[in-house]
């Protein structure tokens, strides 16, 4: 398929949840590289290659974003990514425990690509992440980035 490594940025403050996600991706082998940051500020630094991440060379192919995050929250991170032309075409998938209507509406208001509520069941969770990975990273065709 694509001739370069596939990278996913996981923004998740809950270390246990992060482990679950990474484990699922690893098992289904949909991504070559998963970068995990645990707060909104770091996520933005990574996406815009500043601060501690100023030497990052390639942007992720997919961003998995929790909403409740320390420092900047997920909606803020989402809106910054979608506002900026250099990052706006990167698919962002919100992955959160909240199914509150306000959160869903706001996320779509900021042009999120998908909004997923974390299922409680592990198998289901794992399956969902696998489908998610295949959909966004393998099947979906995004605009080419320079």
């Amino acid at each position: 398929m694509q001739g370069r490594p596939i990278k996913v940025l996981l923004v998740e403050d809950n270390a246990a949840h992060a482990k679950l996600v990474m484990r699922s991706f690893r098992e289904h082998a949909v991504a070559n590289e998963i970068v995990h940051v645990d707060n909104g500020e770091s996520a933005l630094e990574y996406m815009f290659q500043i601060g501690q991440y100023q030497n990052v060379e390639t942007l992720p192919d997919l961003v998995l974003l929790d909403l409740r995050l320390p420092k900047y929250d997920g909606l803020h991170v989402l809106s910054e990514i979608k506002k900026n032309p250099s990052t706006s075409s990167i698919p962002v998938v919100v992955l959160t425990t909240s199914d509150a209507e306000a959160d869903v509406n706001q996320a779509y208001g900021h042009h999120v690509n998908s909004y997923l509520v974390k299922p409680i069941d592990f198998i289901e969770f794992s399956k969902m992440l696998s489908d998610l990975g295949f959909y966004w990273l393998v099947w979906n065709e995004s605009p080419k980035r320079r």
Partner: protein, 1088 residues
Amino acid sequence: MPLLRKYLLLGIVPALVAVGLTMLLNYMMTRSLVLEEIQQVQQTELQLQIARMEGFFQNYVARLEAIAAAKEIQGGNRQEILPYLIEQRKSLGDQIEGMYYDELNGDVYGVDGAQFNVSDREYFERVLSGETVISRLLQSRGSGENIVLVLVPTFDFAGKQIGAVGLTILERHLVQYIENANVSHQAKLLLIDSDANVIAGNLKSPSSQLEDRSSITDANGNSNTVVIGEATISGWSLALIYPDDTTFLPIFRRLRWAQLGGAGIGLAVAIALGLLFTNRALSPLKKITAAHARFAQGDKSVRLPEADLNEFAPLAQSFNFLASRLADAELDRAKHLTDVEAREARFRALFDAAADALFLVDANAQIINVNDEACRSLGYTREELLQLHSDDVEVKWKRDQIVDLHTTIVDNTSTAPLQGRHRRKDGTEFPVEVRIGRFVENGQPLFIAIVRNVEQRLLHEEMLRREKAMLERIMQASVAAITIVDAHDATRYANRRAIELLALTSEANVFQEPTWLRFDLSGKPLDKDDTAYAIVKRTNAPVSGVRYILERAPGDRRVLHINGAPLQDEHGEFDGAVLVIDDVTDDYEAERALKASEDRFQLAISGAQQGIWEWEILENRFFWSDRMFELFGLPPGSEAPSRASMRERLHPEDLTRVEAMFGKFLARAGKFDAECRFRVESGEYRWFRMSGDGVWNEEGEAVRLAGAMADITARKETERIVRENEERYRAIFEAAVNGFFIYALDGTLVDVNPTACRLHGYTRDEMMEMKPLDFIHPDSHPVFQDFLETIGQGNRFESGAIGVRKGGGVFYAHVIGVPYYVGGRTLALSTVVDVTESRLAIKERETLITTLEAKNTELERFTYTVSHDLKSPLITIKGFLGALAQDIDRSDMPAVEEDMQIISDAAEKMKDLLDDLLELSRIGRVCNPSGFVDGRQMIDAVLTFLAGTIAEKQVNISVSCDDSQFFGDRVRLQEVLQNLVENAIKYAEVGDPRVTIQLSSDKDNTTCWVRDNGPGIPAHFRDKIFGLFEKLDPHSDGTGIGLAIAKRIIEFHQGEIWVEANPVKGSCFCFRIPRDPSSSLISTARLG
């Protein structure tokens, strides 16, 4: 014979030779004489023609000069000149093509509106040098025809050239004029311009050939004599072409015949007669010459008898013709002179007949001419005056002043009237008004002074002024108000009383009254056509006794009595009115009272309304008028009831009273005038008023009584209703649960009811002594003003207000006010309800709603956060249980251990969250007793509690605290401080941890600061950290609820908590709570 031959030869031959020579000589001499004579005649005729042509132009020049001398032209103003020229043009006939006004710059303005510039024309230079110019112009822009331009310069009154006026004549008129000339001997008259063009006259031969020739041969081969002369007026030449065969040849022919005849008669007598012939032949010529000489010497009547002159008759004819023409021209000139003299005479007549004295003076004030009035007014003769200067008769003005004044008058407008004083010959003086005008005559400026004796006028003016002043004083002093209104309804004059009564204001000499309401005496608004002024204006006749009511303010009504008279102009037309206004309010009231009593009297004697009764006591006989029977419901004419029966009809309640009064009356100890009830025929009792008088005899016995009786049941009924109403309203007023206040419109309290007194806590007497503003809160004073104004305008009033109770307490009042009319006076009635309690209740409710809304919002937020954060560990646990199953399948023991640890941590986390939530929910719900907290003690307690951590981390703690105490929940506040200090220790710089605690109080608040030297908190996260379960560092211990709890505790103490920027390094948490125990108590009570 030789001798004979010799004599013959000697006699005849010389005789023949002599005769021949004589004839030749004679012929030549005669011919030259004749020629000279003819030429002289021809020259004369030419000059005549030139004069005639000049006359043609002179006519126009004269008209133009007359126009140029007109004041409109001398004024030099083009706006005046052109219309004047247009006017003049009309009188100038159709030979004129156009008229023009040339300005010095060459701009030309035609009467036909044309405008062009001629400054480049040759003739214009001549115009500028003041010459009259006559110039021929080819193809005029007006008509396209050749024209002749006549231009006359114009001068202003100072003699300075200002332009020129001109007219143009169609050349064909000139040509016609020339060709119509009557010339002798069929001669032709040619007009030749300065460029040698033949303009008039018909000659085939080119004109240029005429220049230097005295004769030409025409196309028929006939020779002609040419005479050319230059007409000075235009640089033109006139030429007369005489055909020789009608002038010279007959003369010469006859001359020859005569001489040949003489030769034929005899040679012998030739010699003898030669001279005689010569002499005879020359004598007519001599006569002609003599006639010329006499004519030249002035004998214009000389004429030659043509018959006597035989062959010289043509010459005589020419002479006679020319002489006649010259005589005619002379006559024309004489007629012109006569015209001028007539005009002069007319001016003279005007001058002399003028009603004003006229003085014509020169620039040096020398009197040059005066009219009869001037002589008469000063008592001098004309001759005497002509010896004097202006200042000899003028007292006020010195000669140099007059001369100076003359220099200031520059154009034909005369001066404004100047005030002067003239002295008569007898030395008496009189005031005059002088106007001086200037004009130019023969280039000499002259001044005409028009002098009017103003002695009488000044006298009249002074008298008028005094009369006016007198009138003004009288009017000002008048007790009546006086106004004068002009025909345009503007009040032009008002005396003091009028200004006061009508409250007039004056602006730009016009008096204005406020918009008063006017009513007629019955109280209806007055029609504006019924005011005294309107009546006077409508009828143009005096009016008196107009009365109406003027409402100057609500309740202030004045009755005005007005007399008015029209002012009329000289045609008797209405030109304004004088109004005399009396304030008769008091009289009117008195009159009305009088009238009321009159009415009563009328009522008393009116048989129609009242019944009349008479009682002859001694005879015990009653007489009743018909009305009496009617009143009692009895048929008229029946027998009058007896005294006993009347007493029986009297209402039992009234019996004693009436009998007592009647007894007194009969004893002459009182009047008889009673109001009492009688039973009438229908059985009902009716009220009657009964009055009477009596006649007593000498013994003091009443012999006769008479009186009147009127049914007053209706009145009594009305009175009863009014009384009942009054009582009812009084009862309401007294018993009302609302406070009633009655105010006059000026704000004074008129009445209050007991409730009103109770509201304010005063007695009625105290209230009535007070000013309303004393029992109304200052914040509501504007409301009271508004109340009075609104009622004053007749409107309803409703508002909230604050009342003051005796002793200084206040209450909230709801006030409704309405106008209340009593006895023609407007009062303000207000009802007041104490709404303090309901107001407080409303406020309480609003506060509760606000609090509830806030709590609701907080609850929503709380629920959201809790559900999210509690779900999180659940997902972890379930997720890793799934992972655990996988790892067990794979027998990956390290992974299994890790999974189980994660599950255990998540369960632990969940327990912590639930504990914290419980803790959070306890705040507010579970209250520790509040009390005074000592700041220093609280800090010490916290430090003691944390002593272990501090020692372990070797934290440098510094404390700064004043002795302040504050009110609050000590346990909770200590928790807050502990939380902040723990955080500070946690984030302080590793290696050199420093924490500063500071606490101080001012009058109202106690503030506490906790600083550390850690990394600090970026400004944009400072608000977020107080949120529920918010953590900046995901790896830090705790659930992120500590600051949320701290915030909640501080808010319950009505305080606030925030993060300040630490000036050096690290973060600085602060909280502030009010020291006031009451607010703290209330909040605890309310929100708990």
